[in-house]
Amino acid sequence: MTPVRATSTRAPGRATIGLTPSPRDGRVRHRKRARSVMLDPPAATTFVAAFALRHTAARLASAVHATVLVVALAVGSLVRPPDPVWFGAAMVVLAGWTVVFCVVALRHGLSSWLVAGDTLITATICVSLGPLVPVGTVPNGGGWVSPVIASTLLTIALTQRLAATVGLGLILTGCYLLGAGLASELSAGFGQAWTSLIQITVLSAVMTVIRRAGHDADRLFTAEQRAGHDAEVDRARRADERTQLRMIHATALATLTMIGSGSVASSPSRIRRWAAADLAALRSMSDQSRPARERTRLDQTLLEVVGRHRGQLRISYHPTPCQAPPEVVDALSQAAAEAVANAARHSGADEVTLTLGRAAGVITVTVGDRGRGFDPGPIPRHRYGVRESIIGAVEAVGGAATVDSAAGAGCRWTLVWPAASAPEPAATPVVRHFERGALIAAFVIGGLWHVLNDGMGVAVHWTAYRPPHGGAVSAALWTGYTVIGLLAAARLTRNRPAGRWFAPVAAAILVGGVAVNVVICTGPGVSTWTLIFGNANWAVGVSGWIGILVLWRGRAGGLVALFAANLLVEVVALQIVAPLDRPRLAQWIAAAYGITMLQVVFVVGLRFLQRSGDGAARAERRQNRAHAVRQAANAVHADRRQRYAEIGAAAADLLADLAAGRADHGDATTRHRASVAAARMRRLLAERDDVTDQLLHELRACADVAGRRGVAVDLVAVGTFPPLTVGARRELTETPARLLATARSWARVTVAASTDEVSVGVVVDGVLAEAELAGLAEIQVGREGEGLWLETIWRR
């Protein structure tokens, strides 16, 4: 229902006073703002997170492309390509394309044709592998071709859906195999194909999690926008209606004030004419507001619900007279009607009990039947919609709906408004949801990589490792890494902070393992370089992934240091056991790049995820707060409408007497009646706050009490109230209230508030007994003319 309300401010029967813009109110700027918001309802969905994701993706892809170009140039210059002309041409094309890609991506985002172009160029490079890279590098992605493939896979994953990512990734892998085949090295191509498959899997998993989180965040942002917009619409509606009411009352107020102060010297016939005109204006208002007032009577609206089922279903209705803001009445009656209709359709019972109660400001509606009932746990598909619409309708206005039922024991709905407010949880569900998603992604990636890539590396190269126990060492290392990963994951899922020792020790083991792995790759049977650049040397790759789990809650700097340490330790260990020549260095750079790029991309993605999760959580909190304020404001407003009607009616009686000549405007009684009515009206006209300050609320209540005794109380409040404690408020209002109670015919109550000072002043025509005067002495009751004066002051 909320979206409908967002655009339909003239819903029949709600804003019956109308929305005529009037510049009467002094707050023209405020009104204009509210109005312009009303003209621009929020789009159906807001894509804040989606936009942020696109923005991040474009920057990430550009950065990766640029570094890939540098790596390709570096690696290409270190090795001697089979055909320098082909290689030169390929480098020129790659450089040109990288420039185009970065410029377009940063300016316009990652468009589909950019992705297509990138895929096409990479596929071409893969197919022409033969002339571009030395034969020996084909198993390791041809040195520089591997990073190029990785960057294209990343671009695809960032922009395409899951199916397209996997499809295009497989095509690229096929192209590489085709290129290897054309160079008569098909079997050597499977190494890179394997790497690509792992990359595709990792990227797909990460992007799925990120997209889902982003989608959730967007949903929340949209809901928040809508709530804010609704609040604006409500405020504008209230302001307009207030202006209208004030204009209608202004004419009567002028007449009553003048009569009250004895300032009218006109002929009785003119006074009668004015009174009649004022009366007509007031009556037109009460005519206009009647349907709106009826709508706010929940007992009457529910009676209509009962009437709709007459003849089909016996409804025993137990109402209590009950008023509520119109949207609450709408929601509760709609939900009750659904529950009744549902009972009629499914329960098999011939009688439904509908009760409406009100206690301590809480409205409770129950709908019960003694029919078949149902098990509220597993809800049949056809009933799910009904249940959701009942709960949704009530929750949308800040209420709560529960259903209590069991098979064979009937069904009972309880609708409560307002819902008991739950304390705000320390971490909102959104944050937990996002964190869990990211956690699962990290664990899945690390786990998949470790089992598929590393496990296979250990098993396949068992005998190739350095004797005598190379295989066993590798297996032990693999187990150690597994244990660290599981420990880190367990600590994260239990949400317990790790011990101080855990992160540094685990990081040391991970980095040390990298060096050990390099050392055992120097067996006699297989070439050291085949082992080093194959998955026999698996530790350097997975160390970073497990490190992400270990250092999850730490700073990003720790992770960067770990990634760097992994590479540094590996290259130093290599330098000791098998010094790198130029082609090997090139190969190592390419391999190191492939490993680190994915990890960095993941960490960046994670940061985005956490940020959007934070944003979504804040949006959720703001939304709840806006909702609460809106409800409070609407309740105040409904109450005020009611008082306008009452005061209008009181004034109308006097005006009717004047118009009919039954009351004489010069008569002292009439003048006093006019003074009291005018003071009441002025107090109401001065109310413009949406959510009433408590201090003012208490003073207004005292003034109303005195007003009912026939005292004309002028209540003038200026300034903006600072937050006051209950004690400070009591000290400010207690004695003024006592003095006000002594007033005989008039009183003036003033409140002047600023950020550092609040003062309440009272002047009355009352007389205090000496004893009372003594009790109030310390607060300085002074004589003021014929009456008394008193003030209380709070200072910061």
């Binding site: 009037s22 510049p23 009467r24 109110d25 002094g26 707050r27 023209v28 700027r29 204009m247 202004a250 004419t251 107020l253 002028a254 007449t255 004030t257 003048m258 102060s261 004895g262 300032s263 009218v264 010297a265 006109s266 003119r270 004015w274 005018a678 002025r682 006209l685 001065a686 413009r688 002028d714 003038v716 200026v718 300034g719 903006t720 003036r748 003033t750 002047a752 508030a753 600023s754 950020t755 003062s759 002043g761 009272v762 002047v763 002074g782 003021e784 003319g785 004066w789 003030e791």
Partner: protein, 253 residues
């Protein structure tokens, strides 16, 4: 009293409620001061094109049917009219806007029977009369560029706003009524400095100097401001328009 001079003070009233015209006539008739209502009408235009255009003081209701007359004040003051705002609504924002725009005084209609005649007499003599509602608005001013009021000025304003008589305020402060009036007038003068200068503000200032209300060390500040108002367009430092509809039209541009 200015009303005791040779010629009576003349006023024109803009208000769309005839009962208010009636009330004003009653107040004037009951007062010994010589004040003459020369025209009462429902719109500003009727007054400007009628005999009321020459009145010493223009009494202006803010709620004129569908429009708010707050935006007319700068233009009326710029044309040399002394404007007394007369409204049921003494919202502090409206009061301060009116004073900043150059109105001589602000009077709530509920205060009319007690303060009307004194207010128009003061305005006609280029003096400012501070009604209790105006005192309240000045006390509650929360704008960042609000004038700084002394403690004595604030006390006088607060008690006057609460509904004490001037005599009671004076007794409570241990001062003479004259001194209390000086405190209140000086506070009001500080509001004359805010916003765009204009002829009514300059006149108010000139009279204040004449009356000895302003201390010697303040005179230069006030005087340079008044002079600037006749020569230059002096924009509001916060860049706000003086009024919602009055915009930045100024004869002094």
């Amino acid at each position: 009293m200015a009303g005791d001079d040779l010629a009576p003070v003349t006023i024109a009233v803009v208000d769309d409620h005839p009962v208010i015209h009636d009330g004003v006539r009653a107040w004037l008739a009951a007062s010994p001061a010589r004040v003459e209502l020369i025209q009462a009408a429902g719109t500003v235009e009727e007054i400007l094109t009628g005999p009321g255009a020459r009145a010493d003081v223009l009494v202006l209701d803010l709620d004129l049917g569908e429009t708010n007359a707050l935006g007319r004040i700068p233009e009326l003051c710029a044309d040399g009219h002394r404007v007394v705002v007369f409204s049921f609504d003494s919202d502090e924002g409206d009061v301060l806007t009116a004073l900043t725009a150059g109105a001589s005084a602000f009077l709530n209609k509920a205060e009319g029977s007690a303060h009307f005649v004194e207010t128009v007499l003061a305005a006609a003599a280029d003096r400012s009369y501070v009604s209790p509602s105006t005192a309240g608005a000045m006390l509650a001013d929360a704008r960042t560029d609000r004038p700084r009021l002394s403690d004595q000025e604030r006390n006088a304003l607060r008690w006057w706003f609460q509904g004490m008589s001037k005599q009671s305020v004076a007794t409570r402060m241990g001062l003479s009524v004259h001194t209390v009036n000086q405190y209140i007038s000086r506070a009001r003068l500080k509001y004359g400095r805010a916003g765009r200068p204009g002829p009514t503000k300059a006149a108010l200032l000139a009279r204040a100097i004449e009356d000895g209300l302003i201390r010697a060390d303040e005179v230069n500040e006030y005087r340079s401001l008044a002079a600037a108002g006749l020569d230059f367009f002096h924009p509001d430092p916060l860049g706000r328009p003086v009024s919602p509809s009055g915009g930045r039209r100024s004869r002094f541009r």
